[in-house]
Amino acid sequence: MRWSLAQGFSRRSFLRGAAGGTGSLILGVKYSPAEGAIKKHPSSVINNFIRVDPDNTTTLLINYAEFGNGAYTSLAMMVAEEMDIDWNTIVLEEAPTEPKYYSPLFKEYLTAGSVTTLSAWMPMRTAGAQARDLFLRAAALKWDTDIKALDTQLGNVIERNGDRSSTYGDLLVTIEKESLTALSNVSLKNPKSFKLIGTNTKRIEGTEKVNGSAIYGIDIKLPGMLYGSVARCPVYGGKALSWNDSKTMAVKGVVKTKRISSGIVVLAKDFWSAKKGRDALEVVWDEGQNASLSSEKFYSEYKALASKPGMLAEDIGNSLKVLHETRDTIEAVYEMPYLAHACMEPMNCTAMVEQDNADTDKISKCEIWSGTQYQSNDQEIVSKLLNIPQQSVTVHRPLIGGSFGRRASKTADFTVDAVEAANGENVPVQVIWSREEDIRGAHYRPLFVHKLRGALDDKGMPLAWHQTVVGQSIMQGTKHDPAYMVRGMDIYSLDGCLQEPFGVFRYGTSYAIPNHRVESHNPPKVGVNPHEWRAVGHTHTGIAYECFLDEMAHAGGKDPLDLRLELTKDNPRMNKVLKLLEEKTDWNTSLGEGRARGMAARIYSVSPCAQAVEITLLDNGEFSIDKVVCVIDCGIAVNPLGIESQVQGGISIGISAVAFGNIEIVDGRIKQSNFHDYNVMRINHMPEIEVHIIPSEEMPTGVGEQATAPIAPAVANAIFAASGTRVRSFPLSKHGFKLI
C-alpha cells in the first residue's frame, strides 16, 4: 500500500477503513518515475507501462485521464488480468507527455470520445502479458526447468508439480543477471479465461475520493504559490482598454495586477483575496464585435438557413422526388440551445515558468498542473506561447473533478491563463475560475437548428427522410480540421443523423429508410467557442432524429418501438438491443392514468444503446421521471460496475440538459451565471435506472457518452405520449414542463 505524494507538500496518508483493505493506492499527483529505484534495479522497468519493485509492487504508467470515467480502474484491470498480479499491489503513476504514450487512435495524448477502453485494450493487456512472460522465463532459467512446468499466481511464479515459488520482485535479480528483456510477441489470454475482466471492480482510487485526500488540480499547493483571479470582459472576445487597481491593491493579500490574454489577472496570497481584488477592479472594456450577438438572432438566422439547400452529406435513394410526390408530408423544426458543461470542479490550472539561470530574459522551462483531458495539446500551445521546445513543458495531471469534454480545450484556455499569469513571477501561480467564469466560459455545445421532412409509405413506414442541420462546426479551423471535416462538413455536427458511415465515423444510425437525404450548414464561427459536450453531435441530432422518428411513428399509426425494430432488421446488434429493451420494460403494458413511456435508440462511437423512460405528468405541467431502462452493447464488458455508473451519469447529465439546460446569449453576454440560473438535476430528480449489458465477445467499445445520446429524446417522446404536446425547442422548462 503506497502513496505518491504531490511535490512540495506532504499529506497524511489514510489507510483503508477497518473493514476495508480493498483496492490499491493511486497517485493523485506523482510526476516523475522514482529515478532512484530505477538506477538501483534497472531491470525493474519491464516495458513502457510497467515497473516492478523488489517488494513486488507493480507500478503502472497510465496515459489516460481520470475524470470519473473509470479509466484508471479499467486500465489497471487489463494489466492485472494478463500479468496475474494482486490488485492490492498496484500503484499508479501518470505517464509523461511523450509520443510513446499518445493514444494509438488519436496520435495525441488525449482522453476523449469514449474510446479509452478500446484504445488501451491491446496495449495494456500486451504490457501485462509481456511482464508475466518475462518472469516465467526468468524462473525457468533460475530453476533450470522447462517453462511449461511453470505457472503464475497473483504476482508469483510457481512450479505446477513442485514446491518452488518466487515473487516477481525476487526474480528481478535473475532478469538483471541474465539480461532478459520483455518480448514484443507474447500471446494474450483467451477472453473465456478472464478472471478479473468482466467482474464488478470498485474504483481503484475509491478511498482517496471518500476521505478528502484525493488531489485535484484545484488542490495543488506549491511553495510560494500565488493565486490568480481574472477580470474578463462581459462580452467574450472583448479586450481591456485600461484598468484602475487602486481599490484592488488595497485588499489585504493582493500582490499585483497585470494583463493577460483573457483579461486582467489579480495575483494574491490566497484565492479569496485574489477574487475580492478582482471584484474591486475597475476596467474599461472594448466589447468588440460580439457585443451585438444574441441567441435569438442565431435562431432566426439558422431557421432561415435550414430552408435553404445546404452541403449534401448523404443522399440515399431520392428523398426530394418522393417528398415532392407525397401529399401529406410531415415537417418539423427542432431548436437546441447552447449548453455549458458545468463540471463540479471549476476550470483551474497551476503553472511555474522558470527563467534561464544564465540569461534571465530567457525562459528555460515550464511546468503545469492541470486537470486536462488533452495533455499533448496543452504542451504544444504552452511551448509556442513561451517559445520554448515542447519537451521543456512538463504537464502534470492531477485527478479531475468532472470534464464532459470541457477539459479537452483546443485553445487550452484555462492553461494559458495560468501560464501567462505565472510568466515573469518566478513562483508558481494557480488561476482558479469562479463558478460564474466557468458558466460564462464560452466553450459550449453549440446552438443548433434542424429542419426535417418525412414521407410514409402505405403501410405507415418511413419512406423518405430529409434533414437539414444548421449549427457551427466544432472542428473547422482547428488542427482536427483534416480528420473531421469531410467535403467542408463537420462530421461531428452530423453524427447520429446519417444512415451510412461518414468520414472517420464507421457507423450509421442503424435504421434503414429507403430514401434518406441529409444536408448541412456550418455557419461562420462567430461568438463563443463551439465545443465537444458529452455525446457531442448526438446531443442535438439525437433529439431531432429520435423525436421526429417518433412523430413519423405516430403519423403512421405505428408503435415507436415496433417501428425501430422494423427499421433495424438488418442491423443485428441494435435489433438485439431493442428486443431486450422491449422485454425489460414490459413495453406493451399500460402504465395507467397520468403516466407514459418514451424511448429512443442511438449508436455513438460504435456501441448501440437504447432507453425507455417512464414518466408521471401532472396537470400543472410538473413531471417526474420515474424509471429509465437502458440496454447497451459495448462489446466485452470490462468492468460492469463501472459501466453501470457511466450509464447512470450519462443519463443524469442528459436529463439536466433536456429538462433545464439553457445558456442564452443576450447583447453578447451570457445570461446565466451559476447553479441558481443554470439548473442541473439533483437527487430528487433522479429516476431509478436499470442497466442491461448485452453479453458479447466483441472488442470493448465506449460507454461514457453512449447513454447521454438517447435520454433527451426518450424523455421528450414520453412528454408527448403523456400530454400530446410535441416539444420542438429546448429545454422542456421553456414550455412549462417542469421536472420535479
Binding site: E208, K209, F271, L399, S645, M681, R682
Partner: protein, 156 residues
C-alpha cells in the same frame, strides 16, 4: 488573529473577518478535502459540520465560527479509519470524479446522525442541496439506505 477549532485541533490564522471558512480551510490550513463548487450555497461541495450540523462553508464568514467546533471530511473518522458512511460510499462505489463527494458525505453523515432510518423523502430533503454533475445520485441513495439498515449505527 482568528482561532479556529478544526477536527479537534486549534489553529490560529490571520485573515480578514469576512473571509469564508472555505478559503481559510483550503488556502490557509491546506485542508483541501472541502471543495469549492459555486460560492453561493447552491451546490453543497463545501459542506462542513459546525457543531455537528452541516453548513456551507463558502458563505460562512470565518468570524462566525470562532469558538465553534468545525469538522471537515478529513476529520470525519478517527485517525486513519473511515466512518460508516464513507465505508458505504466505498462499498457502493459511489464516486465518479469524486469532487462533490466530500460535501455529500458530510451531509449524509449528519442526516444519519439525526435520523437513523431516513425515508426516500428524507433523503431528498437533506441531500437535494448537493449537486453531482457525474450523476451518482442513485448510488448515494443506496449507500444511505444501506447504512441506515445496518444493525447498529455508530457514526461520528
Amino acid at each position: 488573529m482568528t482561532t479556529l477549532s478544526v477536527n479537534e485541533k486549534k489553529h490560529t490564522v490571520e485573515v480578514e473577518a469576512d473571509t469564508p471558512l472555505l478559503w481559510v480551510l483550503r488556502d490557509h490550513l491546506n485542508m483541501t478535502g472541502t471543495k469549492y463548487g459555486c460560492g453561493i450555497a447552491q451546490c453543497g461541495a463545501c459542506t462542513v459540520h459546525i457543531d455537528g450540523s452541516p453548513q456551507r462553508s463558502c458563505v460562512l464568514p470565518v468570524s462566525a465560527v470562532e469558538g465553534k467546533e468545525i469538522t471537515t471530511i478529513e476529520g470525519l473518522a478517527d485517525a486513519e479509519l473511515l466512518n460508516e458512511v464513507q465505508q458505504a460510499w466505498l462499498d457502493f462505489d459511489v464516486a465518479q470524479c469524486g469532487y462533490c463527494q466530500s460535501g455529500q458525505i458530510m451531509t449524509a453523515t449528519a442526516l444519519l446522525n439525526h435520523n437513523s432510518s431516513p425515508s426516500d423523502e428524507d433523503i431528498d430533503a437533506a441531500m437535494s442541496g448537493h449537486i453531482c454533475r457525474c450523476g451518482t445520485y442513485q448510488r448515494i441513495r443506496e449507500a444511505i439506505h444501506h447504512v441506515a439498515n445496518k444493525p447498529s449505527v455508530n457514526i461520528k
